[in-house]
């Protein structure tokens, strides 16, 4: 068996501001093989983006990572600047959540892609690099690509910018693509195109993909496996089917219940139908007490009692693993009640 493209072991990420240091991610472990897609979902602020940045070794100032991150055989946390430059682009590339801030307002779109090409391989001529830019824009579905390369980021719509940053990330055919909400700014038809394109390139290059997304529709159509984060920790991990059809963590079940469906039947008499939000606000690792970070919002904590608020649940194997792969959840309950019982 070939080595996995990505191996993360006991990764913790902390921020230091002034005199205080606090963790935002704790004890995260994942492996990802070439050609496969792992979706990372979870509450806003749960540590998805910062984990992606840690894998790239592109942490903001004041942030530090502990543990082990191996990408295509390279130990990212031990690598020096020169190795990192080589790794970024070819081994691992990232599509950032905020496409505008990933682009320079002073460079046209073609220059951005050309820069990515030449950073990785300086022997490519400027002209050839720009030609690659036109080619890539065409691949991601931007009309009139030869004109589009000459336009500046602010002259693109949100969705076009998003496609441009995807083109930049893919131009060097990375072994691992970290895509942070790659299709949120896109309409559904372009979204479907981009997901199909990513799948196609994934098959062509055997690329592994870490797909950060809060859109369960996207996750359902693109992921092989799913990792659910809550307050910086793994809440649940398993195959797409296990996590979707037999969620083993109450938070995952709550997310599923809050997902709007276009084909849902609505009773339109009187009050407008609303989405069911999970009550309460998300916590951070810093504010979480000694117990399970989700306990204050969990409708099932009452069934377990004390334990939920005094003891962090360990990740434990679930018997529901229907697809043979690992399925684990960090919950004191061994089994969740069926969805009817959860919907309070």
């Amino acid at each position: 068996m070939p080595d996995p493209v990505l191996q993360v072991e006991d990764l913790s990420i902390s921020f230091t501001t002034g005199e205080t240091t606090f963790d935002v991610v704790r004890d995260l472990s994942v492996t990802l093989d070439g050609g496969r897609t792992l979706a990372v979902v979870g509450e806003s602020g749960s540590g998805k983006t910062i984990t992606g940045r840690a894998i790239m070794r592109l942490l903001p100032r004041g942030a530090g990572a502990r543990g082990r991150i191996v990408v295509a055989g390279r130990d990212m946390l031990a690598a020096d600047e020169r190795e990192l430059r080589r790794a970024r682009g070819a081994d691992v590339a990232m599509v950032f959540q905020d496409s505008m801030s990933a682009l320079s307002p002073y460079l046209d779109i073609g220059a951005h892609i050309a820069q990515a090409v030449r950073l990785h391989d300086p022997s490519v001529s400027r002209r050839a690099a720009r030609a690659r830019g036109v080619e890539m824009l065409e691949r991601v579905g931007i009309p009139e690509p030869a004109d589009a390369v000459r336009r500046f980021p602010h002259e693109f719509s949100g969705g076009m910018r998003q496609r441009a940053v995807i083109a930049m990330a893919l131009v060097n055919r990375p072994a691992l693509l970290i895509a942070d909400e790659p299709t949120t700014a896109l309409d559904v038809t372009v979204q479907a195109q981009i997901l199909a394109l990513l799948r196609e390139l994934q098959q062509e290059y055997g690329m592994a993909m870490l797909l950060i997304s809060h859109d369960f529709g996207v996750v359902a159509s693109a992921a092989d496996d799913v990792l659910v984060l809550y307050a910086g920790r793994e809440a649940e991990y398993g195959s797409l089917r296990d996590v979707f059809e037999a969620p083993a963590h109450p938070y995952t079940a709550g997310l599923r219940a809050a997902t709007p469906r276009l084909d849902a039947r609505l009773d339109t008499g009187g009050e407008r139908t609303r989405l069911r939000a999970i009550p309460g606000a998300p916590t951070s690792l810093r504010d979480a007490g000694p117990g399970c970070a989700f306990a204050p919002r969990c409708g099932l904590a009452g069934q377990v009692g004390e334990r939920c608020v005094v003891e962090v649940p360990l990740r434990s194997r679930r018997t529901s693993g229907t697809t043979g792969g690992a399925h684990r959840a960090a919950c004191h309950l061994d089994r969740l009640p069926s969805s009817g019982e959860i919907a309070r």
Binding site: G158, M160, E181, D187, A192, A258, L275, A281
Partner: protein
């Protein structure tokens, strides 16, 4: 009879673009003769393909982009004829949530400064308690007041942007993808908050979103844009039950459901 809170009549916007030939020589017609109205207390959903002109239309609605042709009226007043004071009042009564939250926030200002400036710009004062309550309504704790934009996650920033728009209790909120960066449970919380404001305080919404399921639940009427034009409008339920225009049909078709094939 009161005037609609927003009325756009035959509005167009042409951008100059570099190079270009053929039909592009005269620039890019991002919005092409659009007429649209948002009644008081109404939530109008605006959907359409990427690049169809939704953000441009939204920006014209609050005077950030000047139309090449056509008239924009808010609360019955022609925006083009507004003086400085009139424009200030427009900004007070029409708030905007931008598509790109990070780019719309000043990186050198803390969340507290950002919010305080909104009040100050309109000669109003605020208290810490009020700011804390405002943040709480979008699910953020008081410690966010002291944070800079780079110290918050994408979804946290987006909620700051929503809080900023809500601060002065405007009459109309133009929200360009206000919940795109939010996970489903926080998104539901924010959308329900906006729906409460509409119901209890009669705030009107122009809500741009790619998420048809969200638009369907939270809009009274829907307008569909394609290549700068509005190709279909109607009551939300009707549009999604029986989409008439091929563009709307394609959007409905392509919406992925969060279910697995069995």
């Amino acid at each position: 009879m009161t005037a609609p809170i927003l009325e756009m009549t035959d509005v167009s916007k042409r951008f100059r673009t570099p190079g270009g030939f053929g039909r592009r020589r005269h620039g890019l017609l991002a919005v092409d003769g659009v007429s649209l109205r948002v009644e008081r207390g109404e939530a109008l959903g605006l959907v359409g393909e990427s690049g169809s002109g939704k953000s441009t239309l939204a920006r014209m609605a609050n005077g950030l982009v000047t139309p090449t042709a056509g008239i924009v009226r808010t609360d019955g007043q022609d925006v083009a004829a507004l003086g400085r004071r009139g424009l200030r009042r427009l900004r007070r009564n029409v708030a905007m949530v931008f598509q790109d939250p990070l780019a719309s926030l000043n990186p050198r200002q803390t969340v507290r400064q950002t919010l305080e400036n909104v009040y100050r710009a309109h000669g109003e004062t605020t208290s810490t308690a009020e700011l804390v309550a405002l943040l709480e309504s979008v699910g953020l704790g008081p410690d966010y007041l002291g944070r800079y934009p780079h110290q918050a996650s994408g979804g946290q920033l987006q909620r700051v942007a929503v809080a900023r728009a809500l601060a002065l209790k405007p009459d109309l909120i133009i929200a360009d993808e206000p919940t795109s960066a939010l996970d489903v449970s926080v998104r539901a919380q924010i959308l329900n908050l906006l729906a409460d404001l509409q119901r209890d305080q009669g705030i009107s919404f122009l809500h741009v979103s790619h998420d048809l399921a969200v638009i369907r639940l939270y809009s009274d009427r829907v307008a569909v844009m394609q290549r700068g034009r509005i190709v279909e409008t109607g009551p939300s339920e009707e549009i999604f039950r029986a989409p008439q225009h091929p563009c709307t049909q394609a959007l409905v078709e392509a919406t992925p459901e969060a279910e697995l094939p069995t």
